[in-house]
């Protein structure tokens, strides 16, 4: 007996969305983390670092699950490799968030007071770009439901553009922060200075990979 249910493979789109939600869980506590760092509240710093590590691990599990359920011969309305790359982009966001907190929790670095406000602004901006990328995966659900209808695709493309411009704004904030850092860096420990530039880069990466998630999505829906 041919069982008709055997032709329905597990759809990867729900887990893809779950994965992005988990990734965002790694990003949400970052602002609090930097505030705790500035207040030199290291109990809290370690607590948040562990919380993010846990979320990152869970994101990895979902990622592997998506990959395991995506054999080559599966028939999907989108290109399989685009989907896998989008998953990778999302996952990198979680990895970067983890790298940031691990380094800072280990080195207990603190930033000169005059830079702190700018850093928090920059972190908030990077976070908001991630949240926008999360919104993309919600809207992508509607694109699927409409069977890749033009209306929904148009909406999604507009949202992807918004993520791109938000990422540019984050870049600008990073530039400003780096410039102010340059003015005060002589007063700091040289090794700290080097690592802070690295951390700024990584915070920028949070926004950058969010943007790249959007770019992959654009490729995925632009096939027809």
């Amino acid at each position: 007996m041919i069982n008709i249910s055997s032709m329905f493979a597990k759809s990867p789109f729900k887990p893809l969305r779950d994965h992005m939600n988990k990734v965002v869980e790694c990003v949400v506590p970052l602002k609090e983390f930097f505030e705790a760092l500035n207040q030199r509240n290291f109990v809290k710093v370690v607590e948040i670092q562990q919380q993010i590590s846990l979320a990152e691990e869970e994101a990895d599990l979902i990622k592997n699950e998506v990959r395991n359920h995506l054999p080559r011969n599966i028939f999907m309305p989108i290109n399989r490799s685009d989907l896998l790359e989008m998953l990778d982009m999302q996952d990198t966001i979680a990895d970067v968030a983890q790298d940031i907190v691990e380094l800072l929790a280990l080195r207990r670095m603190s930033l000169p007071t005059e830079l702190r406000q700018d850093l928090i602004l920059f972190v908030e901006k990077a976070q908001s770009v991630c949240y926008m990328a999360q919104g993309l995966s919600e809207e992508f659900g509607d694109v699927l439901e409409s069977g890749f209808g033009r209306h929904e695709i148009k909406k999604l493309l507009a949202m992807i553009d918004q993520v791109s411009s938000a990422e540019t704004e984050a870049d600008d904030l990073e530039d400003a922060l780096v410039r102010r850092m340059f003015e005060v860096e002589d007063k700091m420990k040289p090794v700290d200075v080097m690592f802070w530039y690295e951390v700024f880069e990584w915070i920028g990466d949070l926004a950058d990979y969010s943007k790249k998630t959007g770019s992959r999505l654009r490729l995925m829906i632009a096939q027809n």
């Binding site: 007996m1 249910s5 028939f75 209808g149």
Partner: protein
């Protein structure tokens, strides 16, 4: 021989026919109803009730042509006019062979089809028991071609229906309002299509003869009735247009969930009109030969009680095992939302009923698979595992010869017992 063992033959025919239809009810029906249950449109209980009623209605109202094909169009009995018992043994062997093979295959999870088993079995005993010339090869050719063509027709239809739903409802500025507007039209189409195909010169056995315009009128009336009933049921949901498109999409799925009630009925009707014949066709052949005292030309009409035996078999199969199979299938098809399920079921039901009207035994399951692929091609389904299509080819390759061999074996067995 026939007089001596007449009641034995009829009893055996009923027992084997019950066995075969029981198997159809236990396994086959699930594929027809599973999509409805999986998309959450109907509960298991509702599926059983719908299946019981509409399988029977399908067999009774529209099953005559396929039954006739299986009963007398595949075999030309002219060479054995003096030995009617050969055809009796043969039909009994075919039934037993197909039913047994189905049981074994279901048990092992092999991809076989009821229709292919019974056709293979009938051809098998005819070739050996009567002779190569006794098989109506052109007819067999038509049937085999239809096995390739029918899933494609189902797929194409499903693709077009899915595309139309996208075009007129989902991909618009006001999807919810368009869904409300077009839902009755789609339902009209369900009722109109199924009833027109059924009515079109197709009710002679019930002593109802409608002219072509009359058929159209009745079909329009029936379609309108379905549309109005559906409209009433949709209104009872009391939905207000939601603000976001996202919420409107889930409202639309609820509307199509109601509409799938009707395609579920259509699917059960279609399945009954085609697949029940696999069980009752050979049974009817045996009964009419015995009762006519050896008349092989079989001009007599199909006795109603045979249909009832077939219906009982199906319901028995549903009640004993079928509900569990439907449940299993239903829990695995959750990815198929009602808009998609509606498209696939309407396409499959229309294709099967059309085949039934022309008297061609097709595989409902294969057509349903084709329809789901059609919806997938319209970019409607998240992920499909197309290995099942390989299973369809296997079904063609394996089932026909095995059915034939088993039936030949039983043919010689019966001949040995009764001769």
């Amino acid at each position: 021989m026939l007089i001596e063992y007449g009641s034995v033959f009829i009893t055996l025919a009923i027992v084997f026919g019950l066995y075969m239809t029981w198997g159809i009810g236990a396994n086959d029906v699930a594929n027809a109803m599973g999509t409805s249950v999986g998309s959450g449109a109907i509960s298991i209980k509702q599926a059983i009730i719908i299946a019981a009623i509409f399988e029977f209605a399908g067999a009774f109202i529209a099953g005559g042509n396929v039954t006739r094909t299986i009963r007398k169009d595949i075999i030309d009995p002219t060479p054995i006019l003096g030995n009617p018992e050969i055809l009796v043994w043969g039909m009994l062997s075919a039934l037993l062979a197909a039913a047994l093979w189905l049981t074994v295959a279901s048990w092992m999870g092999w991809p076989v089809s009821t229709t292919h088993s019974i056709i293979g079995a009938i051809v098998g005993f005819a070739m050996v028991g009567i002779g190569m010339d006794a098989v109506n090869w052109p007819k067999i050719g038509t049937i085999v071609i239809s096995w390739v063509v029918s899933p494609m027709v189902g797929g194409t239809l499903a693709f077009l229906i899915m595309r139309s739903i996208q075009r007129f409802i989902l991909d618009t500025d006001t999807p919810f309002r368009n869904a409300l507007r077009y839902a009755p039209l789609y339902l009209f189409f369900v009722g109109f299509l199924i009833s027109l195909v059924t009515l079109f010169k197709g009710l002679k056995h019930l002593d109802i003869e409608l002219s072509i315009p009359q058929s159209f009128l009745v079909a329009i009336a029936f379609g309108s009735f379905i549309a109005l009933t559906g409209r009433f049921l949709i209104d009872r949901l009391k939905m207000k247009e939601a603000g976001s498109v996202h919420e409107q999409f889930s409202q639309i799925e609820r509307i199509f969930g109601v509409m799938m009630l009707f395609t579920a009925c259509a699917m059960a009707f279609a399945h009954g009109s085609n697949d029940v014949a696999n069980g009752i066709g050979p049974m009817a052949a045996v009964v009419s030969i015995v009762q006519s005292g050896g008349e092989l030309t079989q001009n007599s009409a199909l006795p109603i009680w045979i249909l009832i035996v077939g219906g009982c078999g199906i319901i028995l199969g549903l009640a004993t095992l079928g509900y569990r199979v439907i449940q299993t299938i239903g829990t695995k098809i959750t990815e198929l939302v009602p808009t998609r399920g509606f498209s696939a079921e309407l396409a499959a039901a229309a294709t099967v009923v059309l085949a039934s009207r022309t008297g061609i035994p097709v595989s409902t399951t294969h057509i349903a698979v084709g329809a789901v692929v059609g919806v997938g091609l319209a970019r409607g389904i998240g992920a499909l595992d197309l290995r099942v299509i390989g299973g369809i080819f296997m079904s063609w390759v394996i089932t026909l010869p095995v059915g034939a061999l088993l039936s030949i074996f039983f043919f010689f067995f019966f001949r040995g017992v009764f001769l």
